[in-house]
Structure formats: structure tokens, C-alpha cells
């Protein structure tokens, strides 16, 4: 399958549902020329979405106990690579 046509697939990982975690987040800002770092902590719902192949997996975190000032949402998507389970 051509790389550009890889699908987005939702899923659920019961091993992660309810787990407390921290995420070292961030991303590009403005026109992408700059970036920023943000930190989040909360509880994973177990829901995830895989983007493309090889899968780029993102987990949904809610009940946020740490988030940037003025971050208005109650949930955040966290890329698996910088997601750290903290209740092991």
C-alpha cells in the first residue's frame, strides 16, 4: 500500500485504561517554523488512534492533573513515545 494512503485506525488498550501517566508534549506552533514543549499528567482512557503504517499511536488522556496554564480542554491526545506510566 502506498505510504501516503495509510489509514487512521482507532482502538482500545485495556491495559492502559485507568492508568495514571505523564506526557512530555508539545508540537509545532505558528506556521511550523517554531515549536514548544508542554507537560501533561492525568489518567489514560485506554482509547488510542494509530496514524499510518508503521503505526504512530496516540493515547487519550483525561482527568488532567497537570496541564499548561490556560489550556482549556479536559483531555489531550498523547503520542505514545513520550508517554510515561507513573503508577507502575
Amino acid at each position: 500500500m502506498p505510504i501516503k494512503q495509510q489509514p487512521t485506525k482507532p482502538g482500545f488498550n485495556p491495559d492502559y485504561a485507568g492508568r495514571k501517566a505523564e506526557c512530555d508534549g508539545g508540537g509545532p506552533v505558528l506556521d511550523g517554523r517554531y515549536a514548544t514543549r508542554e507537560e501533561f499528567a492525568g489518567t489514560l482512557t485506554g482509547e488510542y488512534v494509530d496514524h499510518g503504517d508503521p503505526p504512530w499511536r496516540w493515547y487519550l488522556m483525561g482527568d488532567l492533573t497537570k496541564k499548561p496554564d490556560a489550556y482549556e480542554d479536559d483531555v489531550v491526545w498523547c503520542e505514545e513515545g513520550l508517554l510515561f506510566l507513573i503508577d507502575e
Binding site: I3, K4, Q6, T8, C23, D24, G25, G26, G27, P28, V29, L30, D31, G32, R33, Y34, A35, T36, R37, E38, F40, V49, H51, G52, P54, P55, W56, R57, W58, P68, D69, A70, Y71, E72, D73, V75, V76, W77, C78, E79, E80, G81, L82, F84
Partner: protein, 367 residues
Amino acid sequence: MAKDPLHTKFCDMMGIEFPILAFTHCKDVVAAVVNAGGFACLGEAMHTPERIEADIKWIREKVGDKPFGVDLVLPSTAPPAGTVEKLHEGIPQEYWDFAAKIKKDYEIPDPKGKQDLHQWGGLNQEIARAQMDVILEEKVPVFCSGLGSPHFLVEAAHERDMKVFGLIGKKRQAQREIDQGVDVIIAQGYDAAGHTGPIGTFSIVAEVAAIAGDVPVIAAGGISTGRHLAASLCLGASGVWTGSMWLCSRESDTDMVMKEILLEADSDSTVYSNSISGFPMRVTKCAWTKEWAKPDALKPLSSPYQMLLSSEYIQAANDWRRPDLMTEAAGQGIGFVDSMKPARQMIFDMVEEALATFEELTGVAPE
């Protein structure tokens, strides 16, 4: 005669002469640095996949088989879809009034054209994925992630004889990426331009070098001289990642007015501010950051609201080339850049000063 302290394991890994990595948004700088014996990564986070493909081909024509990299800012968190809708309605009137006062106090004209506010990748993983896919298809020698973890691409990259570099701001990020097979770790300290982590360069480089084993660690954040290079190697790094200094190179397409601002800057000329984007980033001080730093200023909004608020100011500053208004991401090492030179000369000056530093410390001339 001592061995050459600048011939590091990073040089051996990449087959290059000098352990100096340039990060730049200008492909002419990439070509010049690579052809001078260093290594360079082209920042492409703001470009379409088609533009990225064209830039890669252009660089290959200029450097031949010499290695170079492409850098993307991979997002690692994203708010739920739909939060950027109705941006204007989300900004309280008192913020519009604050921005209008800055405009009036500094006599800022309207921008010349329509503002173009958009984001790549950060709120849209599909776009970031498309950018990554073209880099894999083109088999660029190095893919560098400027923020998020590139772990999921390591296997696909290695199958294509590509290397993967990861830029980190904390020890646990480095450990995670080392465990995931990332080939080179770039330890970026607080002195850096733009999106720095909370830990100083002196600390993060030594901390990561202590856990990296055979994985080369590259020091980043406020580095612009041969002495910085020598110091980084003493901390355990195998090279240095440099950014702000290239803005002032002869080849750079940075606006000349901005170059003059940067050449006049010293280490106190930057500020770590939320006022541009809603996220903390290190930029050169300007009228906007100064006003938002005042004790009676409003608290910056979150992104993307603060970005929308600042966008007219940013565009007007650049359209009218006002040195009192313009700003750029720059690290604290910018104070050492005081003349505009060809990139090749900047590489050689850095190498010469590093070698002289080692000779000064040891009393022995290196090979």
C-alpha cells in the same frame, strides 16, 4: 602531539570531518555547511510534502553523496479536534484592546497583506505523517525529530539505510529514545532558541552523556563558538547542534534588518516568553514581548488564541521591516555572533578556536 579531539564517534558514524551540526530553515546554508565538512539539518516543519521533496532534491544536487538531514517538529500532544474553531470569538475584548494599545503606542501600521495563520502538524497528525512519509520515500540520510519521539519510524528508516536523530529536553526522554533505537540524541538545554526544555545546557548534556553508552550525544542550546564546542566535548558530547548563528551567515535568507538585530544582540537580548504563541519559547526581545512582560500586562492566552492575537503584530513588523518590532527565535549564544560571514568560514573559525582551546588547556598541539 595529542590526537585530534574534534574527530569524534559522530564523525566516524556519519563520515564527516567536523562534529558541527547546523540546524537551519535555509537550504543554501545546508549546502554550504555540508560542503565545508560539517553536517546540516534542514527544518521543514512548515512546508508541504511537495516542497520538502523539491528541497531534498535540490540539496542532493549541491552536496552529492555527503550526508545531510531533514528535521520535522513531530507533535507529541494535541488537543481534541475542533478547538481552533471560532478563534476570534474565543479572545476576550480586553485582549484585543491590549493589542490595539501596543499598535497605537508603537505607531505600527497595518500589515501589507492578508494574515496567513495556519499550523502544520501540531493539530493534524495527518499532515505530519505526510511530511514524514516523503522523507522516508526520498531516503534522506538522516531524519531528525525536533520535538516528539521518532521511535515509530526507526525500523522503517533503518531499512532504508537512514539514520534517526532525536532532540530531547529531559533525561527520561533521552533514555526512552535510546531504548527505542534512535541513532543520535541531541540534548537541548534551556539556553536554546525556541522550544527549550527547563534544564540548562551544561546540565542536560552531561546527564544524557552519562546514560547514552555508545549512542552519540550532541550538545544543543546557546552554542556558537569554538570554546562552546570544546566545552561540549568535555561534557561528553560527540558534537554540537548550532542554530541561531546560521541566521547571520552570508548564505542565510534571513531578512537583513533581522540579521543586523542579531549581530548587535548579546546574551541578554533574548527572552523566554509566552506572548508570541501562548507557549513559552526563546525569542529576541521586541516591543511585543516587552509590553507583555510588564507587571500590569494581561496574562498571555493559550495557543492558538495568543498566536492569533500576535499574528497581526508579527506580520506588520516583518512587512514594514521595523527593527524595533521584529523578533526571531534565537538562543543565548547569539551574543558571540558579531559579523556576517560565509558558512564555510564560520565552520573553520569554530574548529580553529576549539583546537586552540584544547591546546591552551593541555599545552599540547593536537594532530
